[in-house]
């Protein structure tokens, strides 16, 4: 398969993630969108690593994986906090500060 096929696939997945981020009101739903986006990044990295013929991209993808895990942990902690303070996990339930 040509490299561009993988990149196109990644781009499609990334844009699905964008769609998810934009449409989900549930904070965990937004996180799912973000996961799709980072997953697309990893696919990119590994495909490009292969295309470049070395392992740096794979290493990068590993780092990216770990970062994502950390991000999800923090995100869920914040979602729990939001739930406890607002009795809701909808992102637009917290709208006290604006303007």
């Amino acid at each position: 398969m040509p490299t561009s096929a993988y990149l196109l696939l990644g781009a499609a997945l990334f844009c699905m993630g964008v769609f998810g981020v934009l449409t989900r009101r549930n904070a965990i739903g937004v996180l799912i969108g973000v996961e799709l986006m980072t997953n697309a990044v990893n696919l990119n990295l590994i495909a490009l690593s292969r295309a470049n013929g070395h392992l740096t991209g794979q290493a990068f993808a590993l780092f990216s994986l770990a970062l994502t895990v950390a991000e999800v942990i923090v995100g869920l902690a914040i979602v729990l906090l939001l739930y406890r303070s607002h009795r809701s996990v909808l992102t637009d339930s917290a709208v006290e500060m604006k303007g």
Partner: protein
């Protein structure tokens, strides 16, 4: 083995900070919590703030004693004079943050002070790593290391003054935490997580097209549409942390809801770190090919300055005002970066813009931190009698001069500095940036920025006016905890002192840029 040791030595400051972080965790485990209802007095955990400060001070002393070695760790990190300058900047910011936080933490999250300082240290480690990072992978990881603790710290704390409590939930969820910090953390986090994904996508393209993660190798990437997309997405991703429009909307909300001493930190150090990271990527990687990024960044800078100033104009809430004005300030700093970019692209790298940038960081650190700390001092001194709607509002500063002339003077100096009035450091910072930009042929940008600065002057002086001409609701002086007093004094003195005698700082910035490897 030897290589390892020299690596550790080169990475002295981050390594020391990591050791300090571990020590802090240990101290936190050893010190019991014992506090009254209000957490005042006799809580052994209070010592953590002192320990954190002393640790940072010790690291800062080491940093001041050890000149740049110029050594590399692999090909990803370098300990040059640029790195050293930024280290000192971040350590100073960290110390100010601890000083600012000490009284706040003691009172508001007595039990969780240790974790706060631990997170602060983690964020500082990220910044110190960013300062010397010359590798995309390291930049991304260090950037996240800096950023993720910030998400948590923004959601920290329980007091937000006028928090409305929701109905109590059963069981596990009996106690309701404050609403505003949660909201602040959520907004910062959501925008940050999306931006992180965007940055990663952009960076993955840069890596793929150049075949390497090292910044110097980025220049080898052949010009292609995908490269432009990669650069654009990288800029977009970083713009979130820098608070460039339209990625800046989280700023006022998060500033408003997060603990003020933390905001004083959030509003300066991470931005400086992020800007230097973006700057190193663009200048080292694409310095010769300014056409890839200069037009984009130029547009972003203009939009940012306009939006920041206009959004700050109607604000009556001090933290929101400072948040939006900070957006405008970032726009001005970007001009410095653009100036270097244009000169470098013309094949005559002139580091005037970089010098201006470093100078600006210091001035901005002093003025912005000082101002937020004054806001904190006022908020902390509030009693139950004060109207809740005046909390953190400009109106809350009304007549401050009559209550606490010293505090008002400190705030005034900081305001004038941010507005770019002569005799305080902010003026030199702006002038320096403008000269660099004009030299790079961006005269129109200078005139635009100067015109927008007039708007800035308006809202900054409105605050000053309220302090000096407004009627105080009480004549009682504002009680300021000693730690906060020291921090405010230091920032005010720096603002005035560097305004009257910017020479040493100019020289330091010159030396820092002279040793910048990569240009």
């Amino acid at each position: 083995m030897n290589e390892w040791l020299s690596g550790l030595q080169t990475l002295l400051i981050p390594v020391l900070l990591t050791a300090a972080l571990l020590l802090l965790i240990l101290a936190d485990l050893l010190l019991p919590f014992r506090g009254g209802k209000d957490g005042s007095g006799g809580n052994p955990k209070n010592a953590l703030g002192v320990i954190a400060f002393l640790q940072l001070a010790a690291v800062a002393v080491v940093s001041w004693l050890s000149p740049a070695s110029g050594l590399w760790v692999g090909k990803s990190w370098v300990d040059d004079s640029w790195t050293v300058f930024l280290h000192r900047l971040f350590l100073t910011a960290g110390m100010l943050a601890v000083l600012g936080m000490y009284a706040h933490g003691k009172k508001n999250f007595a039990r969780r002070q240790g974790e706060f300082y631990t997170l602060l240290f983690a964020s500082l480690i990220g910044m110190t790593l960013l300062a010397g990072a010359r590798d995309l992978l390291l930049i991304v990881v260090a950037f996240e290391l800096m950023g993720m603790p910030l998400y948590i710290m923004a959601a920290y704390g329980k007091t937000d003054g006028d928090s409305a409590q929701g109905p109590a939930a059963p069981g596990l969820l009996r106690a309701t935490p404050a609403r505003r910090p949660a909201e602040a953390g959520l907004k910062l986090y959501l925008v940050g997580a999306v931006s992180a994904a965007i940055t990663l996508y952009g960076v993955s393209l840069l890596y793929g097209l150049s075949g390497s993660t090292q910044l110097v190798d980025l220049a080898k990437a052949p010009s292609s549409p995908l490269l432009f997309v990669g650069v654009a997405m990288t800029i977009a991703g970083f713009s979130f942390k820098l608070g460039l429009a339209p990625f800046q909307f989280w700023i006022p909300d998060t500033y408003q809801g997060a603990p003020t001493p933390f905001v004083s930190f959030l509003s300066v150090a991470p931005k400086a770190a992020g800007l230097t990271a973006l700057g190193t990527i663009l200048l080292i990687g694409f310095g010769q090919r300014g056409d890839i990024w200069i037009p984009t960044l130029l547009a972003v800078a203009v939009v940012t300055m306009v939006a920041g100033n206009l959004l700050a104009l109607p604000q009556l809430h001090l933290k929101r005002l400072l948040g939006n004005s900070g957006v405008a300030q970032m726009g001005t700093m970007i001009i410095g970066l653009l100036a270097v970019g244009v000169q470098t692209a013309h094949g005559q790298p002139d580091p005037a813009g970089l010098r201006a940038l470093l100078f600006y960081f210091v001035g901005y650190l002093a003025a912005n931190t000082g101002l937020f700390l004054v806001v904190e001092a006022l908020a902390a001194s509030r009693t139950a009698n004060d109207a809740p709607e005046t909390r953190d509002m400009i109106a809350g500063l009304s007549g401050l001069n009559r209550r606490s002339p010293g505090l008002a003077l400190a705030a005034l100096l900081c305001l004038l500095s941010l507005a770019g009035i002569p005799f305080v450091v902010g003026f030199w910072a702006k002038l320096y940036v403008f000269v660099a930009a004009w030299q790079a042929g961006q005269a129109w940008l200078v005139i635009l920025a100067a015109a927008l600065a007039v708007i800035g002057l308006f809202y900054y002086l409105r605050v000053a006016r309220s302090m000096y001409l407004g009627e105080p609701t009480t004549e009682a002086p504002v009680p300021v905890p000693w730690s906060l007093k020291i921090a405010i004094l230091v920032t005010a003195l720096a603002t005035a002192g560097l305004g009257l005698m910017p020479g040493p700082l100019v020289e330091a910035a010159r030396a820092a840029v002279a040793g910048f490897t990569g240009l």
